[in-house]
């Protein structure tokens, strides 16, 4: 109670007025970074290796104890994670929260596969988390975000589909369903390259043994397992098109799922990487502030700007964190996530998920 009173005082309008313009968190953090009134930070309390097969990228589950400002998460949501990865730079990326849905102030886990990231120096955040971070490392978080979540009342039968690292939100859903003692049926299809690269292998094995209404299919493509197709789905779940389905994975898997469910409203999807599909090349991409103009090659504006030697600010590179929001003064752009185009002048766009269509000018 005392803590809560303290929190209410710190979040009061009077304190906000006294700490203006910087905000009370700018002062609290000087005392202890784990003191916060609004922002969310966390310390790593555990790093648990999930996959350390030779030749395969490491995968680890990182447990975070957040500040009391963390409002909890729903299964399937993601969080923006910022870490000072050295050379005075903070890198920010988005990760799915992988543990069971949690309440305010409760620990959360993220499960991370190490991969290189040419845009993050000196370390990619995933490599940093899996190879260099230690217990006690400070992490900057957003609140949990995203609407790829289970409804409060879960239907009698659901299908969960995931590929590769896309298993993390689905795993959080599965774990939450088990804790909620969901009595219905869950069909869970997961694609991974091979058995020894399977994340959460032990836990999945246990779930398979226990049954409890979970029909688990681990499909290892390296071992000849078939890829996602309407025929496969129909074989495993007759009448699947009517069954509420959640799918998360790389663009190829999501596109296959969308094709299989076309014309229905049963499918909810989440990319864990934006589709690499190139936009339309042609026209000129102008970076007005630096006075550079390049031929539009169809890549995202962020990629084209970086290729032109600019260093625009960016974060998640997948349209979530809004760090790269930039004013587009003219031209038409396509949002690679939704396929929507817009050509309003002086529009704020996320350049990491926008490709120009024809001539385009942004304030970079």
């Amino acid at each position: 109670m005392a803590l809560d009173l303290g929190g209410r005082i710190l979040r009061s309008r009077t304190v906000a007025a006294l700490a203006s313009p910087h905000g009370i968190d700018r002062y609290l953090t000087q005392i202890n970074p784990m003191l916060a009134a609004h922002e969310v930070r966390a310390r790593i309390t555990d790093i648990h290796p999930e996959v350390s097969a030779p030749g395969a990228p490491r995968v680890a589950t990182v447990t975070l104890q957040p500040t009391s400002t963390w409002r909890g998460h729903r299964a399937g949501q993601h969080v923006t994670v910022g870490i000072d990865t050295g050379e005075g730079r903070r890198t920010t990326r988005v990760f799915t929260v992988s543990n069971t849905e949690g309440k305010a102030g409760e620990p959360l886990t993220i499960t991370v596969r190490a991969h290189d990231d040419e845009h993050a120096t000196p370390y990619s955040i995933s490599k940093y988390l899996t190879e260099r971070a230690t217990v006690g490392t400070l992490v900057h978080l957003s609140q949990a975000e995203g609407d790829f979540v289970l409804p409060d009342r879960v239907p009698e039968h659901i299908i969960l589909i995931s590929g590769g690292s896309g298993i993390t939100p689905v795993m959080s859903m599965l774990r939450s369903l088990q804790r909620r003692t969901h009595r219905g049926k869950v069909t869970f299809l997961h694609w991974a390259p091979s058995a020894d690269r399977q994340i959460f292998a032990d836990e999945l094995e246990e779930i398979r043994h226990q049954g409890h209404g979970v029909d688990l299919h681990l499909l290892h493509t390296g071992d000849g397992a078939p890829y996602l197709s309407p025929a496969l789905l129909e074989k495993l779940v007759p009448g699947y098109r009517e069954v509420p389905t959640w799918a998360c994975g790389p663009a190829s898997l999501i596109e296959a799922a969308q094709a299989a469910y076309v014309g229905t409203e049963s499918l909810k999807v989440e990319y864990f990487k934006p589709p690499k599909t190139a936009g339309v090349a042609g026209g000129e991409m102008e970076f007005a502030r630096t006075g550079k103009t390049v031929a539009n090659d169809g890549a995202t504006i962020l990629d084209q700007a970086e290729a032109a030697g600019l260093t625009p600010e960016s974060g998640c590179r997948m349209g979530i964190c809004f760090s790269c929001t930039t004013n587009k003064s003219s031209g038409r752009v396509r949002n690679v996530l939704t396929g929507e185009t817009s050509e309003l002048p002086d529009e704020q766009i996320r350049i990491c998920v926008s490709t120009p269509e024809g001539d385009c000018s942004v304030d970079l």
């Binding site: 910087h22 002062y27 005075g88 600010e313």
Partner: protein, 374 residues
């Protein structure tokens, strides 16, 4: 106009400008590649110190009598650090590469009445792009003063020294009002409707600043409220006077050149660097002095490389100086009193109408008269 020739400098040929620009680009690239831990540690340390001075300043007001002077001193230092070495530089994007939202040019808000987004437009864009270009750079005289002979004289300017003094006292308000372009409003080039949005943003910030410094903190100090009220006012005043003096030494001392719009049409990058160099002046001093001036004591380096972390300016300065000497260009620097004296003379001289010069004569036609400033 204080043309390049009037400052005793020479014009560079197109080839020289290109080579000169390439040398400046090389400095820039080298520093950008080297940015890292030391720069982030430095700015975090300054921020920590600024917060400590601020908290100490606010707290010392509770110590009756003996606490007041130290309280004002701490709060003044806090506001100066906040506005100059932190605010001004962060809002230039000098630390955007760190990826820390607290030190990001788009998010930072400083401890004075001018809203950061308005300042960034008039300062980062207008002033830094059109530095010392007459008719473009609204920082020449701030729309109030006559600081260049090509600003047409008018009896109004007889008050030049008084306006400058008032601007110094109310500097944060001057900076805030700057964006409303009052002079253009008076001249009918701008309407009140154009200002409605800016005015709203400005009033919001003004209210917040006033609420904190002149209502809440005084109230919190109970019976000492009047002392806290006055103390906060004095701290704002100290910051105003200091910032005004440092900033006026940046572009108005003797020997700083101004440029016509014609000179800057289709400008090359090399000429842009050249203009920044000749349009700015440095102040010599020690390490603490440089920090307290937000390293604007290295105005030349700041104008050449506005988005490089200011702590790098002293190391860059040696190279810039050496390059200048090779190209036969003056590197305008001097101690504070000398630069201020130059500014003061300019303020007084331009209060008066031009001597002898026939009004019909064109731009930059009177080099001989300019000798006064040398």
């Amino acid at each position: 106009m204080t043309t390049v020739e009037n400052t005793g400098n020479r014009r560079l040929s197109a080839e020289e400008l290109e080579a000169f620009g390439a040398e400046m680009d090389a400095i820039r690239q080298r520093i950008v590649a080297d940015l890292g831990e030391k720069d982030s540690a430095y700015i975090y340390d300054i921020v920590k110190k600024q917060r400590a001075f601020e908290i100490a300043g606010r707290a010392l007001f509770y110590l009756p009598v003996i606490g007041w002077v130290p309280a004002v001193a701490c709060l003044s230092i806090s506001k100066i650090l906040d506005n100059m070495e932190i605010g001004h530089n962060v809002m230039h994007g000098q630390y955007d590469w760190m990826g820390d939202p607290d030190l990001n040019s788009r998010m930072f808000e400083w401890d004075n009445v001018c809203p950061s987004d308005q300042w960034k437009y008039s300062h980062n864009y207008i002033h830094h792009t059109f530095t010392n270009v007459l008719g473009k750079d609204r920082d020449i005289g701030y729309g109030i003063l006559r600081m260049d002979e090509d600003q047409k004289w008018h009896p109004y300017f007889l008050g030049n020294p008084i306006y400058a003094f008032l601007l110094m006292i109310f500097f944060e308000w001057g900076v805030a009002m700057h964006d409303l372009e009052v002079e253009n409003l008076v001249a009918g080039k701008r309407t009140f409707a154009d200002n409605a949005e800016l005015h709203r943003g400005l009033m919001k910030k003004v209210k917040r600043q006033a609420l904190k410094d002149y209502v809440l903190f005084p109230l919190l100090s109970g019976p000492l409220a009047p002392l806290t009220f006055v103390g906060n006012g004095v701290a704002n005043l100290v910051r105003n006077i200091w910032a005004f003096n440092i900033i006026f030494c940046g572009h108005f001392p003797a020997g700083v050149a101004s440029f016509s719009q014609e000179e800057c049409e289709d400008e090359t990058q090399g000429h842009w660097y050249y203009r920044q160099l000749l349009g700015s002046a440095n102040i010599t001093g020690g390490r603490i002095f440089h920090i307290m001036s937000g390293n604007l004591s290295h105005q030349i380096e700041h104008h050449l490389f506005p988005d490089l972390p200011a702590r790098r300016y002293p190391e860059i300065a040696e190279e810039v100086r050496e390059i200048c000497s090779r190209y036969g260009l003056a590197y305008n620097t001097g101690p504070l009193h000398q630069q201020l004296w130059g500014v003061f003379k300019k303020i007084c001289r331009y209060a008066l109408p031009d001597r002898k010069r026939p009004a019909a004569e064109g731009v930059g036609a009177a080099p001989a008269l300019e000798g006064v400033a040398a």
